[in-house]
């Protein structure tokens, strides 16, 4: 099934990458107001079929676009991407613009401040088209846990776009916006990227400020771009990256220009293939595409070797103890006292808190709060949370050892292609297990990117290849992804986008 009809696109504006659009704006062939107008139209046309957005900010976007055009005409572009619109997962706090984190418990909240990521993008001149849908509080892998409605995959609207950043992925994949921000805690940008045929890039933990990014699991969350090309991902990441004094976990070193040397090729680069990721449980069509990708990497001059990560088999259990534990604490502030919804009535504080939270939070959120609270509670801390933190150390050690003999690690992004809506909602554990390839790199903090590696032979749906670099080595990660993408020729081709 395809989405509703829209204007004939073909090589239309809406399919251009941000990099291409930036060039058109710079040369004067296109104005930001025109571009923004076209994207607003496109969003109007496709969104009823994919439900990517929670909140649109068309007027603000056009205003910002006008300002961008004025700056460019004065020769004072705020950045190379001045005037290229962007969308934000509704987990980024935006001043004066409603922010819900996908949950009814925050319905009606209008923040008095901007997230640092938003501030930096505003500073670069990127007009905001809107806030996109997500699994509430970033807990989920399909966007079906949104408190409002699920988003749909533009490749097949009966299927999920992935999650938790499904809204951003759907919007970019459908041509409604050139690029968008998501967050990745256990794979929430890489996986939707993989399922929607996009690039989803997670930086090293601490590379991008978390200030103003509503916290799910503080030691795992990172803002991550969803884009149509590797170049775009490198550019958007660079706009937001760099030390932020408002975030104590923000890495002090200055951000790098990730575009620098991105076309250097991968001749001689050593890739590690994880022995323990046998592909068991993976869809055959997915495995086939990933194997093809390995072959292509070798063709491009890279070498592949096996690396062993014995600790990785404990990645999911460790993640599903650490993340909920931190979340249970982070979400305690949603209590109906200072903002958001409140279940009123003549009652007492305890009842008000409890009923507000029970009504405002979705089932998955409640589940994770319960798991997390349990894992931290007296008598269980050492057995659960304490153990998980030690497994985390082992994962970091295994990776450190592996990177002594390889430069990058490569593996699938997801065991399957996009599954059908409703297929996994009754089995939370099955949903969790699909994160097996992504969570270890959130636990370790390594930068990781999912890049499209073709369409699955089973069902013609996108498959993602994951490339993981050493901490703070985003440059090598992007260089490898870029080389692969260029050679594959998938991105930017008619095959590389859904038929909408």
């Amino acid at each position: 099934m395809t989405a509703g009809s829209g204007p004939p696109s073909g090589d239309g504006l809406v399919w251009r990458t941000a990099t291409e659009l930036a060039r058109l704006l710079a040369s004067g062939e296109l104005s930001s107001v025109e571009l923004t107008g076209a994207l607003i139209e496109r969003s109007d046309a496709v969104d009823p079929g994919i439900n990517a957005y929670l909140h649109r900010t068309d007027e603000l976007a056009l205003e910002a676009a006008g300002a961008a055009d004025a700056r460019r005409s004065r020769g004072e572009a705020a950045s190379p991407f001045d005037g290229v619109p962007v969308a934000y997962k509704d987990i980024f706090v935006t001043r004066g613009v409603p922010t819900t984190c996908g949950s009814k418990i925050l319905e009606g909240w209008v923040p008095p401040y901007d997230a640092t990521v938003v501030e930096r993008c505003h500073g670069a001149g990127l007009p905001m088209l809107g806030k996109t849908n997500l699994d509430q509080f970033a807990m989920g892998s399909s966007t079906e846990n949104s408190g409002f409605f699920p988003s749909r995959n533009p490749w097949d609207t009966g299927r999920v776009p992935g999650g938790s950043s499904g809204g951003s992925a759907a919007a970019v994949a459908a041509g409604a916006v050139p690029w968008a921000w998501g967050t990745d805690t256990g794979g929430s940008v890489r996986q939707p990227g993989g399922l929607c045929g996009l690039v989803g890039a997670k930086p090293t933990y601490g590379r991008i400020s978390r200030y103003g990014m509503i916290a799910f699991a503080s030691s795992l969350d990172q803002a991550s771009p969803l884009t149509r090309s590797v170049e775009d991902a490198a550019a958007l990441m660079a706009i937001a990256a760099g030390h932020d004094p408002c975030d104590s976990t923000s890495i002090p070193s200055p951000a790098e220009n990730y575009l620098d040397g991105i076309d250097g090729g991968i001749e001689g680069l050593r890739f590690g293939i994880i022995k323990e990721f046998t592909g068991e449980g993976s869809q055959p069509g997915v495995r086939a595409r990933v194997d093809d990708a390995y072959t292509r990497l070798e063709k491009l001059g890279a070498t592949l070797q096996e690396v062993s990560m014995p600790s990785f088999q404990h990645g999911i259990p460790a993640y599903y103890l650490i993340a909920p534990a931190e979340a249970s604490s982070n979400l305690a502030r949603f209590d109906g006292v200072r903002y958001g919804s409140r279940v009123a009535g003549d009652t007492n504080i305890v009842t008000m808190n409890s009923m507000t939270r029970d009504e405002g939070f979705g089932a998955e959120v409640k589940r994770r709060i319960m798991i997390g609270t349990y894992a931290l509670s007296a008598g269980f801390y050492d057995a659960y949370y304490g153990k998980a933190q030690r497994v985390r150390t082992l994962i970091i050690q295994d990776l450190r050892r592996a990177y002594e003999s390889v430069d990058l690690i490569v593996c699938p992004t997801s065991p399957t292609t996009a599954f059908k809506l409703g297929e996994r909602t009754d089995d939370p554990l099955a949903m969790y297990l699909s994160d097996v390839y992504t969570v270890p790199f959130n636990l370790s903090g390594n930068p990781a990117v999912s890049v499209p590696c073709g369409l699955s032979s089973d069902d013609g749906l996108p498959v993602g290849l994951q490339i993981v670099a050493k901490t703070l080595d985003e440059k090598t990660m992007f260089r490898a992804a870029y080389a692969f993408e260029k050679d594959l020729g998938f991105a930017g081709s008619p095959e590389g986008r859904p038929r909408l």
Binding site: G206, S219, L321, G336, I349, K366, I371
Partner: protein, 97 residues
């Protein structure tokens, strides 16, 4: 592993979640399942392995003792579900039901 209802109630109270009877039973089953799986790491012998709280090793991050502008009272209370005389209004504080 089997979590009993009493434990579910205890945890729900700690977490301020008013679960309905249905929810409690479903939660009990789901938690048992999930903790069974996650709990497999309990069997691992990891003495001698230090726990990791932060994936990136940073130390001594602090800021100078400088005053910065605050929100106005209006801004602070802008989204308050209930307010009175410049303060957030909450129902009667009890020790516990």
């Amino acid at each position: 592993m089997d979590i009993d209802s009493g434990t579910v109630d205890y945890v729900a109270r700690l977490a301020r979640l008013a679960l309905s009877d249905e929810e409690r039973e479903q939660m009990r089953a789901e938690l048992s399942d999930i903790l069974e799986h996650a709990g497999r790491i309990r069997a691992l012998d990891l003495d001698g392995v230090e726990p990791t709280s932060h994936p990136v090793r940073l130390l001594n991050v602090a800021r100078p003792d400088e005053v910065r502008p605050s929100l106005s009272q209006e801004e602070a209370l802008a989204c308050a579900p209930a307010a009175e005389n410049g303060r957030f209004k909450v129902p009667r504080i009890i020790e516990e039901a």
